[in-house]
Symmetry: C2
């Protein structure tokens, strides 16, 4: 087991990474202060890991544990399903000392975290991410929230967990497509801030995709450490933290246009990172070899590069206009300058962006 401490003053918390962590009541016990616990999970994860977690919690004396199972998928990351968590807590008469445990991927983590942020104005929660995506990404940073019909992650709060348990054993049941989606975020950390890590990924991508346990643990640790460094510098996302959105501005536009859950978040981010790379080349900040290098690595992780085949430049621009990074109507993008270093910029002319999107949308792709 490896442990990373996320340093946020009195909101600091540990991330434990390794096998068989779901059995470790000794790791969970110190982070539960009340007597009431609600596990929030989904109907895919519950049959796999619910009982194991409940058995572990049963070893902590005097706990009242209830479990709420939501339908699986980004399509359910909305206010209606958030309400089910709030209502479940109230029906069980859970007080402000209750703890929520998110057992699942990023959707469960974001929704459970937001429910915890807002139930009785804030209660503690624990993240047990069961996908590569959520282990490397959404378990660090305290971002919680739900989607709104008019935009992704538009309703939410910053709320830090008490503890993150990234049990690598849970990746054994992850579908291949979701492994790829998680790998998109891993690749992101190489692209935005660590050329050495990017080279390490290029050396090991096939072994990683074959789920080599030791390599995956290392990749998760490096990704979390990179994200934790940026978050510690900028908890409320005024500055460097926005760099973590590399690929996400384009990616969110894809998700919004296609309907949440059609392309996986990581797939949309994969394509979004490719588009950000092409945009960076247009700005003269990368050369053709860099673009090829990024495209090749994404393809080795079985990720899309080009946008969905029926996506138009107009659709991109419409959705990108409501991105949270925008200031007073000015579109801000995270681009690469050079490879291995991300910048937040308003320098790209709208016409240039449109032209680039027009070219890329012409070679749009369907997911296999």
């Amino acid at each position: 087991m490896q442990t990373l401490n996320v340093d946020l003053g009195d909101r600091s918390y540990p991330i434990h990474i390794g096998p068989a962590l779901l059995d470790r009541d000794d790791l969970i016990r110190p982070h539960i202060t009340g007597r009431q616990v609600m596990i929030v999970t989904n109907d895919t994860v519950a049959p796999l890991y619910r009982q194991q977690l409940e058995t572990t919690l049963a070893r902590i004396e005097g706990l009242e544990v209830i479990t709420l199972i939501l339908p699986d998928g980004e399509a359910y990351k909305n206010l209606q399903h958030l309400e089910r968590i709030w209502t479940g807590l109230l029906e069980a008469r859970f007080s402000r000392t209750a703890t929520l445990i998110a057992l699942g991927g990023g959707v469960i983590g974001d929704m459970t975290g937001f429910a915890a942020a807002t139930y009785q104005r804030g209660i503690p929660f624990i993240q047990i991410p069961t996908t590569l995506l959520s282990q490397v990404d959404s378990s660090v940073g305290g971002k919680t929230g739900v989607n709104h019909p008019l935009g992704k992650n538009m309703i939410g709060a910053f709320h830090q967990p008490q503890l993150v348990l990234a049990d690598t054993d849970t990746l054994s049941t992850l579908p291949q497509r979701e492994l790829s989606a998680g790998m998109a975020e891993v690749i992101k950390y190489g692209l935005l801030g660590d050329l050495e890590f990017l080279s390490w990924l290029e050396a090991h991508m096939e072994a990683l995709m074959a789920r080599d346990a030791t390599l995956l643990t290392e990749a998760i640790l490096q990704s979390c450490a990179c994200k934790a460094r940026l978050v510690a510098e900028d908890e409320r996302e005024g500055g460097v933290r926005a760099l973590l959105n590399l690929g996400h501005t384009f990616g969110h536009a894809i998700e919004t246009e296609m309907g949440y859950g059609c392309w996986l978040h990581g797939e949309a981010v994969g394509s979004g990172m490719y588009l950000a790379t092409v945009a960076s080349q247009r700005m003269g900040w990368l050369d053709q070899a860099d673009v090829l290098r990024v495209a090749t690595l994404l393809e080795r992780a079985h990720l899309p590069t080009h946008p969905p085949e029926n996506m138009t430049p107009k659709a991109f621009l419409k959705h990108m206009a409501v991105d949270k990074k925008n200031i007073d109507g000015h579109l801000r993008l995270v681009l690469l300058k050079p490879l291995g270093q991300a910048v937040l910029t308003t320098a790209m002319p709208q016409a240039e962006l449109e032209q680039m999107l027009t070219t890329e949308c012409q070679s749009g792709q369907a997911l296999s």
Copy 2:
């Protein structure tokens, strides 16, 4: 104009109290950082003060100002109406630098504050409270939120405003019943922490109820100062801040049972404070003369003392079981020990509480 600074480190903000503040663009200007402003108000307040505020904001160069009008009343302090604020912000494509302005009473303030706390994970907001209740109470402390069918204020967040403008001119249009409701919270500050202020209120209650402007300004200032002291000590409500809930545990039970909006919040708190006083006497912490003194002052403010005539002890206990102050199922009450000093206690036996509620419910009263 009087100014009180609420000291909360980098979340500190000023409260300005006095006449004609709605005209003061010089006071508002420094607290708006972006270019987009949404005024949230209700259909009672909008005809009275919307235009005045819009005219003031029009003097700030380059602002895009939109106004959202919600129906007036506690019955609309729910998720459905909160969603209208979120949707309005998204439809207007407001970014994370937009500012919300709450123009109205406590319901508008709580809902607007919560919308600000959660829109794109948090944007700034300004409180312009137009009722005595919200001027003395809900504009201080950063509590925001909405009701849930299973409990009052169960969904919310702590989010501090940039600025509070308490324009005493707006009290001229306040219905008498709402003036009384606000006075309940004013009296609360005398009861829970300041015997001298309690005596001052006893000396001036008729003049206050006749809306003597100078006396009202003083009462608002003293109340805000008392609350600000407690909040500064305990922003997240772990300790002394809970004392501010004097009368609220019983009061919330009344509101929940009767349906929100039947008794005004302040009326329920008035009765709740009387019940807390009687409970304190039962504990031997107050004598009969204290109870009479509290009842007399409440009556001079035209506030109810006894619970609603159709309210049962069972209904009280049911609703009090979900109070946020409870710890692991133990009921916690704010009582007086002695007059002028509040304590948070689990010392009252359940049987004693039931007996007291049975006696008091027998002399339940209807509002005139």
